[in-house]
Amino acid sequence: MELKTDAKISGMGHAMKRKEDPRLIRGQGRYVDDIQLPSMLYMDIVRSPYAYAKIKSINAEAALKIPGVLAVITGETLAKYNLHWMPTISSDTQMVLPTDTVMYQAQEVAAVIATERYVAADGVEAVEVDYEPLTPMVDPFKALAKGAPVLRTDKKDQKDNLAFHWEAGDRADTDQALAAAEVVVTENVYLPRIHVASMETCGCIADFDPAQGKLTVYMTTQAPHAVRTVFALVAGHVGLSEERIRIISPDIGGGFGGKVPVYPGYVIAVAASVVIGKPVKWIEDRMENLQADSFARDYHMKVDLGARKDGTMTALRIKTVADHGYSNASANPSKFPAGLFSICTGSYDLKHAFCEVDAAYTNKPPGGVAYRCSFRVTEAVHAIERATDALAQKLGMDPAELRMMNFIKPGQFPYKSVLGWEYDSGDYHTALKKAMDLIGYDGLRKEQAEKRQRGELMGIGVCSFTEIVGAGPSKHFDILGLKMFDSAEIRVHPTGKAIARFGTKSQGQGHETTYAQIIAEELGIPASDIQVEEGDTDTAPYGLGTYASRSTPTAGAAGAMAARKIRDKARKIAAHLLEVNEGDLEWEPGKFYVKGAPQKSKTIQECAFAAYTNHPQGMEAGMEAVHYYDPPNLTFPFGSYICVVDIDRGTGEVKVRRFVAVDDCGNIINPMIVDGQIHGGLTQGIGPALYEEISYDENGNISGGSFLDYYVPTAVETPNWETAKTVTPSPHHPLGAKGVGESATVGAPPAIANAVVDALRHLGVTHIDIPITPEKVWQILHEKGVAE
């Protein structure tokens, strides 16, 4: 990519060091739990040991006798204010605190408010709850079976456990195409429940000022503006009105989608602060975080892929049963209850496709969140990429060759997919070819063949994914009715420095740096002179927040558009100062000069100074702009990943020997940050591929509810990721960028799963569900008689 600015300005394409780092490497970040307010109280939560039970009684007497325990809040307390129920992001309902029944293990049952953190925990221990256990519904297939006992008896019209049914494509046409296909592969692919497990858990400080009637909430949220509106809508009847609610999202220790929902803890803390009139802090511990916060995935997919004998794919059908737990709390746009799952035709030119999702209520925590992916893209990509490998296996073809054969061709973009999306741009062949060259694909296949002769197990896995990110456009996308545009506001000060505020919220992605670079690119003001702020609803313009790789596609674009408005004004000022017509001026990053007389020029800083000291008659003073950007389409980042695994025949352990990731996210703002995003995403891909799962026993007891059991990869399991890029700009984004934060989380699990199956395919293995733990592999090795 050609750089338009020098390192001093550091516009697009510069590997600028991050502006966030100086405070974070000194331990001077400001995360929610770092904030301490005068007279602050602490809240801790009593949680249910049962997955499904009647609450017979809650006895707070002993807890209230503990010095320092001020209150025990129950569902009955909240019911007095009609705050014991709340809407989910998917317009379902969920309890804040129960009045009679608990619906999942670790559900909030009561909250203790105390003067100190440890005393609040003492209070939790002392609250006595008498439960009458009920038989929980754990299996989503049983939940959807005819005659299953209905769980959501609180919903009048609910006669079964179906949370929703959704479908896309032409069912009859696809059935027919599959019936006519020369070859059909069928695989049952399960993507288990996993958790974002950001290093910082969730929490808040609710600070209600009774004198002003103003509520300030410091909160781990990825979408502060939306939260403010939701609070105003839900709690309007108790006098909270939107102009008197301020949400501050300070430094966030990782979000990955898990900090999009509003959890009961936040609402209880707000209610406690409003009633008591003092700040109330609530910070989850890790077990609460893993056990009760929104999960991700939990999709049971039956995939049928049809093709001709030569390998040309013809038809795809995916039927899914989704386990949503007790309530549909998915973070999905309103019109898309299964998110963007219909991207499941992936990178391939398929003419017939149909997909459907039946979502079940069960006695598990509600969800699921779009964990580091744009609304169910991970599930869709896993299904098609696993099925593609199964097809290659059935036809005896090389999986890379089969992909090359079926890719949408560069000349077909913009490409209209059979399920209705318009892919903006792509060059899939080049990306896969690059990955094959970098890893030495042909050499590896030779090595594999030799090793197989010797009985050694080595696999090569390919995944060529296409993502769909950057929601809006607002005509199709909203959350609870709030349209999914995003915003930027830039003010250039008289001395030519600037402050810029955005409607999104970084959780580690480095927005303070990359947004400054976007403005630097457009205005030529050095990125180091531009201060970026997000997360304070009293100061930042309204936006829908950061998730689904939407920050660069939406708010980043808004930043560029706002900067262009400022440049237009600066041009008028420069013409005035140079006494020429605007049309006589040329722009280069940082200054306007007169055509044919480059020595006659005005810098952007001089224009900014004049905007406050010497602006033309009739022009408004000042230099600022705001832009709300509504994208015309989504963006479609893509990539090809290849990995090599070796399997230990004694232990069943899978070792990722090499992993090459070729990504294409369009034009790149900061290559250092892009690579960092990909490294992190890949690591959040190897986790679920090999280690991570939250599962339940038949009584609804969670396993995987602490870091003892939920195995987040360490530096030892993680390979040295090898990354490379191709650059296919988005034709509709003002900067040609596409978004990159989630590509690797989406693309890595199928690459690894495909590699493991590839290592075992000569034994007749066609599929293994992730996580591919040593135990699963060990059992296969024993069944096949090849264990050591």
């Binding site: 331990g27 580690g508 992190g680 003892l708 360490t714």
Partner: protein
């Protein structure tokens, strides 16, 4: 609950306090002394976000009682920068993009500082083993390894 008077030298300053027997060192640092650079990431001493140096050795301060630090020297992330000069490990983390959200970073850096105290020329594998008790969810560790290698070169 019984209280105990403790004296701890934290980042070179003598600090005294009356603490409950059960008070964890991490809460003593964060809440009593208001040194909030040391973070809490789990309850089971798996994540290492709370790593500090206790008499030079890295410990997970969520698993040490404040009373156990009585008479000891504790170094936290706030004590790394000396006389306005960043510690080479801090420099390495920013130069090599070894942090994203920054939450695991203080603990990760303290473990790295301890590693370089005992081994000024660690191999990649030795670095990976040394930080195996510190989880990072953002970086994928590649750049953390590079950051420690950068710092190792500086301290040699």
């Amino acid at each position: 609950m019984a209280k105990h008077k403790i004296s701890v030298t934290v980042n070179g300053s003598a600090r005294e306090a009356e603490v409950e027997s059960r008070l964890l060192l991490v809460h003593f640092l964060r809440e009593t002394l208001r040194l909030t650079g040391t973070h809490i990431g789990c309850d089971t001493s798996h994540c290492g976000a709370c790593t500090v140096l206790l008499d030079g050795e890295p410990v997970k301060s969520c698993t040490v009682l404040a009373v156990q630090a009585d008479g000891a020297k504790v170094t936290t992330v706030e004590g790394l920068e000396q006389g306005g000069k960043l510690h080479p490990v801090q420099e390495g983390f920013t130069e090599k993009h070894g942090l994203q959200c920054g939450y695991c970073t203080p603990g990760m850096m303290m473990t790295s500082v301890a590693l370089l105290e005992r081994n000024k020329n660690p191999s990649e594998q030795e670095i990976r083993q040394a930080i195996a008790g510190n989880l990072c969810r953002c970086t994928g560790y590649v750049n953390i390894v590079k950051a420690v290698q950068y710092a190792a070169e500086k301290v040699r």
